[in-house]
């Protein structure tokens, strides 16, 4: 546990010492703030005391930013050869993967913390359904965790950052929208299977303000799968 935490801290330090964290945070807050407050179906246009406009825009901005964040995680270490150095120390593959995963997740949580002023503003302007908003944030965090685990996995398969970025985006696209579209054009069991696979179904169910074990199990399954597969693809180098 301690090892994981040290890796997480190290990675987070790297984010904030380089420009990555700042570019990501400013771009995320810029996009989300722009569409939540200034343009399109913004808060005042909708006229309702809810963060729905923020949640629907963050659903997309996070989807694009996360692969950019995760693409260098393992690919860069592989390219530079530092991964060998790391893993000859007393660090297991699993600890490394989880540590990197947590660092990305913490950065996303920090990004979401910066949007809390939105919540306080709307709370002062009208009656807010607090439960629905906290569940919305939970939904965003779980969704991010899924895409981070996918991103860490694709980053572990290659030593080229661009390849890692594009393949994370490609896999993510299935969960983000393609399964949802497929579900609409099938009926019966196939439709149900695609609808269950679609991340937006579970995300929407959470943002209503209801925490359902069905949705939690779905999110955690994908997270665990991503982490396990990353570990496997890392440990492949030692296979006989």
């Amino acid at each position: 546990m301690r090892t994981i935490w040290i890796i997480t801290q190290r990675e987070l330090q790297t984010f904030f010492d380089s420009l990555i964290a700042y570019i990501l945070l400013v771009a995320f807050l810029g996009f989300s703030g722009f569409f939540t407050w200034l343009y399109g179906s913004d808060v005042f246009f909708v006229g309702q005391a809810s963060l729905q406009s923020f949640f629907s825009i963050a659903y997309w901005t996070l989807f694009f930013f996360i692969p950019a964040l995760t693409m260098r995680m393992l690919a860069e270490e592989k390219r530079a050869g530092t991964i060998e150095l790391l893993l000859t120390k007393a660090v297991t593959d699993r600890q490394l993967v989880i540590g990197k995963f947590l660092a990305c997740l913490l950065l996303i949580v920090i990004a979401l913390l910066f949007t809390l002023p939105y919540y306080f503003t709307i709370n002062s302007l009208g009656e807010v359904d607090h439960g629905a908003i906290w569940c919305g944030y939970l939904g965003l965090i779980l969704m991010s965790a899924v895409y981070i685990s996918i991103g860490v996995f694709t980053s572990s398969t290659t030593n080229n950052q661009i390849v890692a970025f594009l393949s994370a985006l490609f896999i993510g696209l299935f969960f983000h929208i393609i399964f949802d579209v497929l579900a609409d054009s099938f009926t019966g069991t196939m439709g149900e299977v695609f609808s269950t696979l679609s991340l937006s179904t579970h995300y929407e169910s959470l943002t209503r303000g209801v925490i359902d074990t069905k949705d939690l199990i779905y999110f955690f399954s994908l997270i665990i799968l991503g982490i396990v597969l990353s570990e496997v693809s890392l440990s492949k180098r030692n296979l006989v």
Partner: protein, 504 residues
């Protein structure tokens, strides 16, 4: 060193466990409802209804199979809800799902029960075809039967199911008298109101005669929008009714507006002086409100006639409600040509009658004395709305007449239930909540207004609005940039210090 096969086996195991967990989760799940109004949890009213069931209730749900997922979700939601009903009622509610598309006989049966299919687009092997989908249910208890022709998704589902169960399970429904004979609309002309009332009561039309008293079976009488004058003998009967502890809901017009001729006048029914004796003065005026409905006006623009919507302050949209069972959960009620009312009785604690305003106009409102001509094209300014929170509806409790406790609800507008019903569901809710409160049966009020659909933002000035917008947009970004700058400065100073040390 690990072996390839053992690695693949463990991965396959993990994947298998995850799939099984997901499959099981669709059957065994737990839900925590964090919404403020507990929208997705069965309400107390439903639990009470289910507790009182004396005989088993059978729900036969006619739902088609193989529907697109968004419609199929309604089916699974309905099934989940029925499971909860069955659990809460100790299996007094039994249900079965039937697919009418399988068997023409079942389809016939569903249609005979009053469930009509809807057409949905289904995509099947690169072709879009239309399919007849059944989404209804029949609820049976003994001989009684109720039909839900179409199951609405969302919070409305619980209301439909619970009220239909209540409708067939309630025994000895109290009678509600709907006064007739002075130009009041009959029950048949108020289908929405009648539909709601039939759940808990048996509403009956009541015509007063000079020779007979009001039958004792009535505990509550509703007087809705009379237009003719009410004879003194009838008013005396209402007094006698109050004296023996009966309750009255009174929704009547002091003024009436005629949009065709753009003219509004006073109507005298005799109720106004009868009510004034009880201390409630309904003024001879029109309440105008900045928060109002619109009327369609034909405007001549060059050679064209255009239909435009114009705000018309004589149609206030009331959203200021007291904390009271009658107005619990209401959002907005349209009250066309409403008057203001005032209490002239003593407000002391020694007074045996308690007066509670239930609904008031908004912070920007005013009054126009009747009779009046309406100028539809008038440009209304803030100066036209100098008053605020004028009472428009009120509740009276106590010894209103004689020495017996009685209750009254007075609404200074008769048209809100008869005409405004189509414009907003809450119009009917206000009326039926009033009757529920008078009849001491407030259980359904909670259910009726469950699921707040609107949470409006406060009105703020344009300048404040811009400030809020840009502050929310810029402050988080500036915080991030500021932190970055400070961090880099600190790093640099540490580095410089080190360099100096090494030179020294």
């Amino acid at each position: 060193m690990r072996r390839k096969t053992s690695l693949y086996i463990s991965v396959a195991l993990i994947v298998g466990i995850l799939i099984v967990a997901n499959l099981l989760s669709s059957d065994y799940f737990l839900r925590l409802d964090f919404t403020e109004d507990q929208r997705y949890t069965l309400s107390q009213a439903t639990e009470d209804i289910l507790d009182e069931l004396a005989e088993p209730v059978t729900v036969t749900a006619y739902f088609s199979e193989d529907l697109p997922p968004d419609i199929a979700r309604t089916k699974s939601d309905f099934r989940d809800m029925l499971v909860e009903y069955a659990n809460t009622s100790d299996n007094m509610v039994v249900y079965e799902f039937v697919n009418p598309n399988d068997d023409p006989e079942v389809e016939q049966e569903a249609m005979q029960n009053g469930i009509s299919p809807v057409l949905v687009n289904v995509r099947d092997q690169d072709e879009i075809s239309q399919k007849r989908a059944f989404l209804g249910a029949v609820i049976q208890m003994g001989e009684e039967q109720e039909v839900i022709p179409f199951v609405q998704p969302g919070a409305a589902m619980e209301y439909t199911l619970s009220t239909n169960i209540k409708k067939i399970s309630a025994v000895d429904k109290p009678s509600i008298g709907i006064l007739q004979g002075h130009g009041e609309p009959s029950i048949n002309t108020l289908p929405q109101v009648a539909n709601e009332l039939f759940i808990l009561y048996s509403p009956e039309e009541l015509t007063l005669t000079d020779s007979t008293d009001i039958p004792t079976k009535f505990k509550t009488i509703a007087v809705l929008a009379p237009t003719d004058s009410i004879p003194d003998s009838h008013l005396a009967q209402l007094d006698a009714f109050l004296t023996r502890g009966g309750n009255i809901l009174l929704a009547f017009d002091r003024v009436e507006g005629d949009l065709q001729n753009a003219y509004g006048r006073v109507i005298n029914t005799g109720l106004e002086s009868w009510l004034a004796d009880k201390g409630v003065q309904v003024e001879e005026n029109f309440v105008v409100d900045a928060s109002c409905g619109a009327v369609t006006v034909q405007q001549q623009q060059g050679p064209f006639t255009m239909n435009t919507q114009v705000s018309f302050p004589y149609l206030p949209i009331v959203s200021n409600f007291a904390e009271h069972p009658v107005t619990a959960g209401l959002e907005a009620v349209i009250m066309p040509f409403v008057s203001s009312l005032a209490y002239t009785g003593s407000q002391d604690t020694s007074n045996t009658v308690k007066f509670t305003p239930l609904a008031t106009s908004s912070e920007q409102s005013g009054t126009v004395p009747a009779p009046a001509y309406f100028d539809i094209n008038k440009q209304w300014t803030e100066n036209d709305f100098p008053l605020e929170t004028l009472p428009l509806a009120a509740a009276l409790e106590g010894t209103i007449e004689g020495n017996t406790e009685a209750k009254m609800v007075v609404i200074a507008d008769g048209g809100f239930a008869t005409q405004g019903g189509g414009q907003g569901g809450d119009n009917v809710n206000l009326l039926v909540n009033g009757i529920d409160w008078l009849s001491d049966d407030t259980g359904l009020i909670e259910l009726r207004t469950k699921g707040v659909t609107s949470r409006p933002l406060e009105q703020v000035e344009d300048a404040t609005k811009s400030l809020i917008k840009y502050a929310n947009f810029l402050v988080p970004i500036l915080l991030v940039v500021g932190y970055g700058v400070v961090r880099f400065q600190m790093k640099r100073s540490i580095r410089q210090k080190r360099m100096q040390e090494s030179y020294a």
